[in-house]
């Protein structure tokens, strides 16, 4: 598969590109926030592909769910394996660290990224100091396309589809907006956020939970 200069088809792929620097591939936010937002993006992807939903009780999986890749399958299995339904907030915390590398690997297979081998320094015996694996864009034209495309949509005030509405809403919920949409006009964004608040499948609940989880993570951080 080849990378595209459009927004990637899968929601989490598109969000990964927004949440990471288009040149260095490093997260634009603190790792904790990146994990929360990536967890939210995978849940949103499951909702868009009609495999999961969120209601007042929590996150649920449809019996007809058919994951098409490892990231989706991991998330669906984790959610389905729970005896009781859990709130979206719990899943953001749990799924985030699990699915982030899986989404990165998905993008690697599609040709957006390449894996930078972790640096390993041998200490003694079997002990090493190793850096975490990291993915670096091959060509920033592809990794910046999603951001450019969304900025263009907001700037031109074109009608915007549910997929893009959800991307914009999640960017704002996670606080990425200052880096991703630095020049977006407030009223254009408000119009999109208003539209996003009527999306189905419990997506608005997901945006609210993401916003609250991010605020809570910042508030509870030790400085």
């Amino acid at each position: 598969m080849r990378p595209t200069l459009q927004i990637p088809r899968l929601f989490a792929d598109a969000f990964y590109l927004l949440a990471h620097d288009d040149v260095t591939g490093r997260p634009r936010q603190a790792p904790r926030l990146t994990h929360l937002s990536m967890g939210a993006s995978v849940l949103a992807e499951l909702i868009f592909t009609e495999q999961a939903f969120i209601d007042a009780i929590g996150v649920g999986i449809y019996p007809s769910a058919q994951p098409t890749n490892v990231a989706q399958m991991t998330a669906v299995e984790e959610i389905a394996a729970e005896r009781t339904r859990r709130r979206a907030r719990d899943w953001l915390r749990h799924l985030g660290p699990v699915v982030t590398p899986l989404v990165a690997q998905r993008l690697e297979r599609e040709g957006y990224h390449r894996l930078i081998a972790p640096t390993r320094i041998r200490l003694f015996g079997p002990y090493f100091i190793a850096t975490a694996p990291r993915w670096q864009p091959d060509n920033s034209a592809y990794t910046s396309a999603t951001m450019a495309h969304l900025n263009r949509l907001l700037d031109a005030e074109w009608s915007i589809g549910p997929h893009e509405q959800a991307l914009v809403a999640l960017v704002y919920a996670t606080g990425l907006n200052r880096r991703v949409f630095p020049y977006a006009r407030a009223w254009a964004v408000n119009r999109v956020l208003e539209q996003a608040s009527f999306l189905g499948g419990g997506l608005p609940q997901l945006f609210d939970d993401t916003r609250a989880s991010v605020a809570s993570a910042v508030a509870a951080a030790t400085h």
């Binding site: 997260p27 603190a30 019996p63 399958m73 749990h94 609940q205 809570s216 508030a219």
Partner: protein, 507 residues
């Protein structure tokens, strides 16, 4: 897909989340690292003796601890339904409406900022003579040291420096041990001629007048500020209810124990007749003088680290408020920027700028850092928080007056949702009113001055700013207004979720 996973007897997610969650001890550690026991014992309690001229401080500390425990019953009951549960204004907005919530947010912001800048005064005023008298012979003005520590606090406030909090936590444990050692030493060395006769009379409420109750109560409330932060860790805790409740109650109990012991020992050691005069003469030094030699020296240096810990705590509290208000667009949106260390660095820079500006103003004007910065600002900040506590109690009472989405009031005992909030609202409200009436006495003035007339006005100023801002948001930025402290069980999200066909079938 492996369907067998559904039938496993335990939850992997629960285990994974629990392993990554905070237990009672961790939350307790976070809460206690934000309080400064030696600052309270040596700075606030001795000031209370000096200002009120009363010896009933231990009794009032006990009464305040009981009153705050009653307050926490309602506060923690509501915390589970509140997003951003560490901020009073979220409770006020949900219980009393958004205009008062936004006004409460601005009052809290003013309050925490005043508490923060107050500490720069006592730090500079304490360290300047200590370094001047030390072997270093560094004779520098107080404001220079205050500016240095403001810069350090600002720098650490934008970094994820876990070692700092660990070191401060360890130092606080040592502080508690030092207070215990000093207090025990004071108790076993009663005032000459008393023969230990004051051992129990020191705890009596003898001589309390209404104005003394107001002053002692205000100081006592100030002593316990920090315990209200536990719900901040609600989402990170193993249990949002049990863990937070236990941590808060243990924190208040420990603080009460330590804070009671110090004034008790001071009264027994110096005698009820001399303790007030001694406090007026040597201030915080009267606690250090309970020990001798190295213990006294260690206590004096720990007093500085204690003040620094409190600075960090109030800096972070004020930063959190600024961040949240920026995020909800009540203040400028730029304050919601976070850095790679998860720190809201723009909000943190604002706090540092405010601190530097206030220190510079005091330095230029030549105002007294102990009285006019530490005591005036500290007491006014505490007064603002006291008012917020009283209003929050009313908000809790009104929040539980009816069922809401996800809130079924019949599932909660009446004493938690009705009786406790009523008692704390009356108690704290009465205390706040008495403090207002006796503000001049609180500042230790012989005759009322302009300061005691103007400083309580900060409440009105902040509230008016908040109400005007709320009116502006309501008129021109309705979506922003409606998003302020939105109940997590209401709003369009819940409405949409409720409409969705819940056809979930497990695997």
């Amino acid at each position: 897909m492996r369907h067998t996973q559904v039938h496993q007897s335990h939850s992997r997610v629960s285990e994974a989340l629990a392993a990554d969650s905070l237990g009672v001890r961790s939350v307790l550690g976070f809460v206690l690292s934000g309080v400064a026991p030696l600052l309270v014992a040596a700075g606030l309690i001795t000031s209370a003796f000096a200002v009120t001229g009363m010896t009933a401080i231990p009794f009032m500390l006990l009464v305040t601890a009981v009153m705050l425990t009653v307050f926490f019953v309602g506060y923690l009951s509501m915390a589970r339904y509140v997003n951003n549960a560490g901020a009073f204004y979220s409770y006020i907005a949900l219980g009393l409406g958004r205009p008062l919530g936004i006004a409460g947010a601005i009052v809290a912001w003013f309050g925490y900022n005043m508490l923060q800048v107050a500490l720069y005064g006592i730090f500079g005023a304490t360290i300047a003579p200590m370094l001047g008298d030390s072997f270093l012979h560094w004779h520098q003005p107080w404001w220079l040291w205050s500016l240095v520590i403001a810069a350090v606090t600002g720098l650490l406030g934008t970094r994820e420096v876990r070692w700092t909090s660990k070191i401060l936590g360890s130092l606080i444990a040592i502080e508690v041990l030092v207070i215990l050692a000093l207090s025990l030493n004071g108790l076993v060395h009663p005032a000459a001629g008393s023969g230990g006769a004051h051992l129990f009379t020191a705890l009596s409420p003898r001589g309390l007048t209404t104005s003394a109750i107001a002053v002692c109560g205000a100081v006592a409330v100030l002593c316990f500020i920090g315990a209200e932060t536990a719900p901040v860790y609600k989402e990170e805790a193993k249990s949002a209810t049990k863990t937070i409740t236990r941590a808060t109650l243990i924190a208040v109990s420990l603080m009460t124990l330590v804070y009671l012991l110090a004034p008790w020992a001071l009264i027994v050691h110096y005698g009820p007749d001399q303790v007030v005069d001694t406090a007026r003469r040597i201030g915080p030094g009267m606690l250090f003088a309970l020990g001798n030699g190295w213990l006294s020296t260690v206590a004096q240096w720990l007093f500085l680290t204690s003040t620094f810990a409190a600075m960090m705590a109030f800096h972070n509290a004020a930063t959190r408020y600024t961040y949240t208000l920026g995020r909800e667009r009540v203040m400028f949106g730029v304050f919601d920027k976070t850095n790679k260390a998860l720190a809201p660095y723009v909000a943190s820079l604002l706090q540092t700028a405010i601190a530097v500006a206030v220190i510079a103003l005091y330095a230029v004007q030549g105002w007294d850092p102990m009285v006019q910065l530490f005591f005036w600002m500290g007491q006014t900040g505490g007064f603002l928080i006291l008012i917020l506590l009283a209003i929050t109690s009313i908000a809790v009472l009104l929040f539980f007056r009816r069922d809401r989405p996800g809130v079924f009031i019949r599932q909660m005992p009446t004493w938690r949702r009705v009786h406790a909030p009523i008692v704390s609202a009356i108690g704290l409200g009465w205390l706040a009113f008495e403090v207002w009436r006796n503000y001049s006495a609180l500042l230790g003035e012989q005759v009322p001055t302009r300061a005691s007339q103007l400083l309580p006005g900060f409440v009105l100023l902040a509230a008016v700013i908040g109400l005007l801002r709320s009116a502006w948001l309501y008129t021109f930025r309705r979506p922003v207004y409606e998003a302020v402290a939105r109940d997590k069980a209401s709003g369009p999200a819940a409405a949409t979720a409720g409409l969705h066909p819940a056809t979930e079938v497990g695997y």
